[in-house]
């Protein structure tokens, strides 16, 4: 069977897994829900019905955030790995996530009025992500090579992480707890009313990634070769940074920093699909990423009556052995 045919079957498999897993995800929890209650909670919401409140305010936002976070982080991870031609790159190498962490840390752990005002954690995380996105954009204009930009991003991330650690050591137990909980990630912070804007921004970010499929395909050959083949490197770089800032900032703001997905999923997809066609890789990454977080969250929901697990813990526990397994099986 040809690779194209295998990949089409794989993509189809991933595509039909999404609705099946979504239904499983929606139906697991402390209460049993009916289809009627599900539709009523969306179109004819009754504020006095516990079941409808749980569906509308907890299960639907949680499902949507699992899909959006998984898809967005995986797409960004793929873009970063292609831009830097490095399988170790992920959504966080540019320090954008660190920018969010810094602003959230400042909002929780300092008494500075601007950071502790009504902005809240979400707004602070968004401001942090976009501010550091701009900083990276500024550096991308100054440096010529991808590797230099990668180093700047990593150094910026390390510098901010050290500063956040300093804030943590100087904070009290209560503040430390709030920050640590945020840093563990959560799919449950989002409200139903916030979903439309989150979905719109995520869709725009992901669609924008499909507009640069051609330069991405050429970038695989290397930066110099891409230039020789007529790719406008500066413009491509700017577009990738903007998409990264939008999608990483969005997910980090509403879910906290979710580790591993952006790094692991694109690598798994490359191993499974055996292609450098970014159209296929992008679709596969966003589907696989969404499925990966959905499965993690289903497992979290299953153990929830006994103990509570943060999403960040499970993504790494499941993801790391998965990557090692695929590497051993396919790349030996």
């Amino acid at each position: 069977m040809g690779i194209v045919k295998t990949n089409t079957i794989l993509l189809f498999g991933l595509l039909i897994s999404i609705p099946i897993l979504s239904i499983v995800h929606l139906s697991i929890g402390q209460i049993d829900i009916s289809t009627q209650e599900f539709w009523q909670s969306i179109f004819n919401f009754n504020e006095n019905s516990a079941n409808e409140i749980i569906i509308r305010e907890i299960r639907i936002p949680r499902l949507m955030m699992a899909l959006i976070a998984g898809a967005s982080l995986s797409v960004v991870g793929l873009l970063m790995q292609t831009l830097f031609n490095n399988p170790l790159a992920g959504p966080y190498v540019l320090g954008i996530n660190s920018g969010s962490s810094l602003f959230v840390a400042l909002s929780i752990m300092t008494g500075i009025p601007f950071f502790t005002s009504d902005f809240g954690i979400i707004t602070n995380a968004l401001i942090g992500a976009f501010l550091f996105g701009l900083v990276i954009l500024f550096f991308s204009k100054l440096v010529r090579t991808q590797i230099a930009l990668l180093l700047v991003g990593l150094m910026l991330g390390s510098f901010i992480s050290a500063f956040v650690s300093f804030l943590q050591s100087a904070s009290n137990a209560q503040e430390l707890k709030v920050f640590t909980l945020w840093a563990l990630g959560s799919l449950q912070k989002v409200e139903f009313s916030q979903l439309p804007i989150i979905i719109i921004v995520a869709v725009i970010g992901i669609l924008a990634a499909f507009l640069i499929v051609k330069p991405l395909n050429v970038l695989v050959l290397g930066e110099q070769e891409a230039k020789l083949l007529g790719v406008n490197m500066k413009r491509t770089r700017v577009i990738i940074i903007v998409i990264t800032a939008i999608l990483t900032g969005l997910v980090t703001a509403f879910c906290g920093p979710i580790a591993f997905v952006g790094l692991a999923v694109p690598n798994l997809v490359r191993i499974l699909f055996k292609t450098q066609q970014h159209f296929t890789l992008l679709i596969a990454s966003l589907l696989f990423g969404a499925i990966f977080i959905l499965i993690c969250d289903i497992l979290i929901q299953l153990v929830e009556p006994h103990f509570m697990l943060p999403i960040n813990v499970l993504t790494s526990i499941i993801g790391a052995p998965m990557v090692i397994f695929f590497i051993l099986n396919r790349l030996r």
Binding site: A50, I54, E57, I58, D118, L184, S186, E304, P310
Partner: protein, 357 residues
């Protein structure tokens, strides 16, 4: 108009002042007889046994009730570092602030005498217990450190023990009965050379607590109560065997999670909280003090019936609650009765709590 506002402000200040003195008023009570030795009646996580040189203190593990450590203590004025807010409150109750060598952080101190002594460098600040400087402890010449025992072992405990510095975990927060929690003041009294004052104070607390209890034990209408708040994705609610669950029961409440086991906090998902508490009457200890803060931190709470009109949190100064409430369970109980059964009218003002408007 202005005059009436000034009068209102003055009267509020007077009420607040009179309220704030309440936890220590007992010590002028001369009705308690002199005693021979300290006995432990309510607390289950420590015991004091009289010896030739003072007391043998036994600290019991709250998880299994087994003996965790035995420390020989002298009933003289020890030099103490207190890293526990409840201990600081107990020290204030028996007016022993001058024997305090150190505290954690001045930002978490309510007692004005302790605060003044910090400002005058008579009490040192040691910061968080997990990052505490061992050298600073040694140079302070303190011989006892009291801490909450949230973690496993105090940093460098064995080294400090070799230097004759005793580390004592204060497991008052794992007691089942509020009076057991308050009874830890007897240990503080022994350590501070103020055994008599501590016993007198505790006897007063027991009498007051039982007086209020007698007013609620015939109540038949028990409003349902939810307690605790959301951190991250987890709602922490008092354990069914914990002291706060006992306080709610004694205040004539039907605490939703009273049947759960254990003294430590129980963890629930927001989904379970919504499922169990949509029509619960009261929400006590909401953690956040305004509706705006609740909407920001836990917007899903707006669906709880209690959120609309019957949500209560610690009033104003959080330090006041954490410092004073452990050794003043009678006042916490009075507040709870006042909230849940205003028809009994034990007092006109709430001391620790306020309703979130």
């Amino acid at each position: 108009m202005l005059l009436s506002k000034i009068l209102l402000l003055l009267s509020a200040t007077l009420i607040l002042f009179s309220c704030e003195r309440e936890p220590t008023d007992c010590c002028n009570d001369n009705t308690t007889a002199l005693f021979e030795s300290t006995s432990i009646d309510y607390a289950s996580n420590f015991d004091l046994v009289k010896t030739n040189i003072g007391y043998s203190l036994k600290i019991l593990n709250p998880e299994n009730g087994e003996l965790e450590k035995t420390i020989s203590i002298k009933t003289e004025k020890n030099k103490i570092i207190s890293l526990s807010a409840t201990v600081n409150g107990m020290i204030s109750n028996i007016n022993a602030q001058k024997f305090l060598a150190g505290v954690g952080n001045r930002n978490y101190i309510y007692d004005s005498i302790i605060l003044n002594r910090i400002l005058n460098n008579e009490i040192l600040e040691f910061g968080d217990e997990m990052n505490i400087s061992t050298e600073k402890i040694i140079s302070s010449s303190a011989n006892i450190i009291l801490y909450s025992g949230f973690g496993n072992e105090f940093p460098n405990e064995s080294k400090l023990n070799k230097l004759n510095i005793n580390i004592i975990p204060i497991y008052d927060w794992r007691e089942q009965h509020p009076l057991g929690k308050a009874e830890w003041i007897k240990l503080i009294g022994v350590l501070m050379g103020k055994e008599k004052e501590a016993n007198t104070y505790f006897d007063y607390v027991v009498r007051e607590y039982e007086k209020i209890l007698s007013a609620t034990d015939t109540l038949s209408n028990l409003p349902s109560v939810l307690s605790g708040s959301l951190y991250g994705d987890i709602w922490y609610a008092p354990g069914g065997n914990g002291y706060f669950s006992t306080l709610l029961k004694d205040a004539g409440a039907n605490y939703i999670y009273s049947a759960t086991k254990g003294t430590a906090s129980q963890e629930y998902s927001m989904e379970k909280i919504l499922k169990d508490n949509l029509s619960t009457d009261y929400w006590i200890n909401s953690g956040l003090s305004t509706k705006a803060a609740i909407n920001n931190g836990n917007p899903k709470a707006k669906y709880l019936k209690a959120y609309k009109s019957s949500t209560y949190c610690y009033s104003g100064n959080l330090n006041k609650f954490w410092e004073q409430s452990a050794s003043a369970p009678h006042i916490v109980l009075r507040d709870l009765v006042q909230i849940l059964h205003p028809e009994i009218m034990l007092s006109k003002e709430l001391y620790f709590y306020k309703r979130i408007e």
